[in-house]
């Protein structure tokens, strides 16, 4: 029982290193341990296990406000744009989210706005076939903004509940690609100002401290409304989300736990924090 353990510098160092090992980052780990020490000093007889304190602290950083697709009355179509760096799981997540909405009786349309990468459109088309969901696309090299716009227009015309738009992976330091994202968002926002519009950044749980740079640059390019953490079925625990939630105050909407349609779970900050610390 950690409550009974003597409080030596080594004790706190151990907690710090446990956090660092999950990609929480040295600054955040050190901050959390300082907060733990302060709290313990203020307690005459600490009733709480220090790890529980850390868990609760971590869980508290994640905003709990509901996403636009859960708002009542539901204005259609709710549009969700998926962005992120290369290979993190955007396309797969779009597929899983389509399945998620269909399972809840919502109609879905997908937008294949990655007009650049080899077989990117085909990948999303196959997801659409697998789930019996329409996919809006144009020829290779087409303007992604135009595809995004077409997708929302199609959703409006066909009275579809949700429009999910997939974009090409891009490293955050590529100015022209970030500008393209800014344009895609701006076009949809300008032409269709009244539709509920979310932009989710997809993050790979295996990611290290580069996550901070990703959020910084993506947030500058377009307003992010939430995060998705993928590949949590691996050994990485996505500790980077702690600093991201704390700094950017963005909710994590879902976590990816595999490659199949059902491998998408709503984010639970308590379970997430517990998995980080244990």
């Amino acid at each position: 029982n950690l409550l009974k353990k003597p409080r030596s510098p080594a004790f706190y160092e151990e907690i710090e290193e446990l956090l660092i090992a999950t990609d929480v980052g040295p600054a955040q780990a050190s901050l959390l341990v300082r907060e733990l020490k302060t709290w313990e000093e203020q307690q005459n007889d600490p009733k709480k296990d220090p790890l529980v304190f850390i868990e609760e602290r971590i869980a508290s950083f994640f905003p709990l406000d509901p996403p636009l697709w859960e708002e009542k009355p539901h204005i259609s179509p709710v549009t969700v744009l998926f962005v992120g760096v290369n290979g993190v799981g955007k396309t797969t997540t779009v597929g899983k989210m389509a399945h998620y909405f269909k399972a809840r009786g919502k109609s879905v349309v997908l937008g294949a706005a990655d007009t650049f990468r080899a077989a990117a459109v085909q990948q999303l088309i196959l997801w659409g076939e697998r789930l019996d969901v329409p996919v809006i696309r144009q020829k290779e090299g087409a303007d992604p903004g135009a595809v995004a716009f077409d997708t929302v227009k199609a959703a409006l015309a066909r009275k579809i509940d949700v429009a999910l738009i997939d974009t090409a992976g891009r490293l955050q330091t590529k100015h022209n690609l970030m500008a393209e994202l800014h344009k895609i968002h701006g076009l949809v926002k300008r032409e269709l100002p009244d539709i509920p519009f979310e932009t989710l950044i997809v993050l790979d749980s295996t990611l290290g401290q580069n996550a901070m740079s990703q959020l910084e640059h993506f947030q500058k390019a377009l307003p992010l409304t939430g995060m998705i953490l993928t590949k949590l079925d691996g050994t990485s625990r996505g500790g980077i989300a702690v600093s991201l939630a704390r700094k950017y105050r963005l909710p994590v909407r879902f976590v990816g736990v595999g490659e199949g349609n059902d491998d998408l779970l709503p984010f639970d900050p308590v379970l997430y924090a517990r998995a980080l610390v244990r």
């Binding site: 290193e17 660092i20 090992a21 999950t22 990609d23 980052g25 040295p26 600054a27 760096v85 290369n86 290979g87 993190v88 799981g89 597929g95 990468r117 080899a118 077989a119 085909q122 990948q123 088309i125 196959l126 997801w127 697998r130 490293l171 955050q172 330091t173 790979d204 295996t206 990611l207 290290g208 401290q209 580069n210 740079s213 590949k231 079925d233 691996g234 050994t235 990485s236 500790g239 980077i240 490659e259």
Partner: protein, 293 residues
């Protein structure tokens, strides 16, 4: 910058010709944070700091250098040393074909890198064959076909009814004999090192093909788990070399130091972009400055 932070520590104790213990410990604390921020694994950082500490205490401050610069120079040289003082290249088989097998976590860049390697060897006038054996990811086969087309290299895709990568072996072998291919690059599905079934499949493929080079493809932005994942692939399959991808971003690449430090496997190439010509040799000194920041 790290030099400025180190210099500030040394300015507190002036007029010394030798690097003192207190200064060393303080600079090593800064070094530790910098390496962790760069995603170097915590255990690797601890070993690194312990090893370099002895070397630094009592070290003479270099001519024309500040105390901080002396420490930084020592750290830099040690990182370069770990990363590998000479560039590793892909080993060709004495008797063709040279079989290269790509492996790694989901999304790390295997398929794109397979195409880049094909392009690299085609530029060197080698007869190359690409093998598409990812049966899991949607449109994976098509992705390699499109890339193969861009590179001008034939891509062998699964025959009708073939459902497992192992069942392609006979076909691949027949094809490389008929085509007299010197280099055969086999692309595989992304997989978790803890996925027993998928690691079993990879073992089967390794036993069938007996590749000259089983290459682990890792994303340069991978965090603390990089070395654990790599160790598991090495333990179960055997890693002949590593390729780090997406180095055209601003990821510090600490995973590179972790893997060199723990596994000691050669880094054969680095990926520096999405286009097929964006495969570069691994330069230890460039990566060292990037990691140290």
């Amino acid at each position: 910058s790290l030099t400025e932070r180190f210099d500030r520590i040394f300015r507190k104790i002036t007029g010394r010709g030798l690097v003192g213990e207190a200064q060393v410990d303080e600079t090593l604390r800064e070094m530790r944070v910098a390496l962790l921020e760069a995603d170097v694994n915590i255990d690797v950082v601890k070993t690194f700091v312990a090893n370099i500490r002895g070397r630094l205490i009592g070290a003479e401050i270099g001519v024309g250098l500040t105390g901080g610069q002396t420490v930084l120079k020592e750290v830099f040289q040690e990182v370069v040393h770990i990363l590998g003082d000479q560039r590793a290249s892909l080993q060709l088989s004495p008797k063709p074909p040279t079989l290269i097998m790509m492996m790694g976590l989901q999304g790390s860049g295997k398929t794109t890198t397979a195409a880049k390697l094909a392009f690299h060897f085609r530029q060197a006038n080698r007869r190359v064959l690409l093998v598409a054996s990812d049966f899991v990811r949607l449109a994976a086969i098509e992705q390699l076909e499109v890339l193969g087309n861009q590179v001008g290299v034939p891509v062998l895709t699964p025959k009708e009814g073939v459902q497992r990568p192992q069942d392609m072996y006979q076909d691949v072998r027949r094809r490389w004999i008929e085509g007299m291919h010197e280099i055969v690059i086999i692309d595989t599905s992304g997989r978790l090192a803890i996925d027993q079934e998928m690691m079993e499949e990879l073992k089967n493929l390794r036993d069938l093909y007996k590749p000259k080079e089983a290459l682990l493809v890792l994303d340069a932005m991978t965090g603390q788990e990089a070395v654990n994942v790599a160790s598991e692939f090495d333990r179960q399959i055997g890693v002949d070399g590593v390729i780090f991808t997406k180095l055209d971003g601003d990821a510090r690449g600490g995973a590179i130091l972790s893997i060199r430090s723990v596994l000691g496997k050669p880094i054969k190439f680095v990926g520096t972009g999405e286009k097929i010509d964006r495969l570069e040799p691994f330069y230890p000194d460039r990566i060292a400055s990037r990691i140290i920041g």
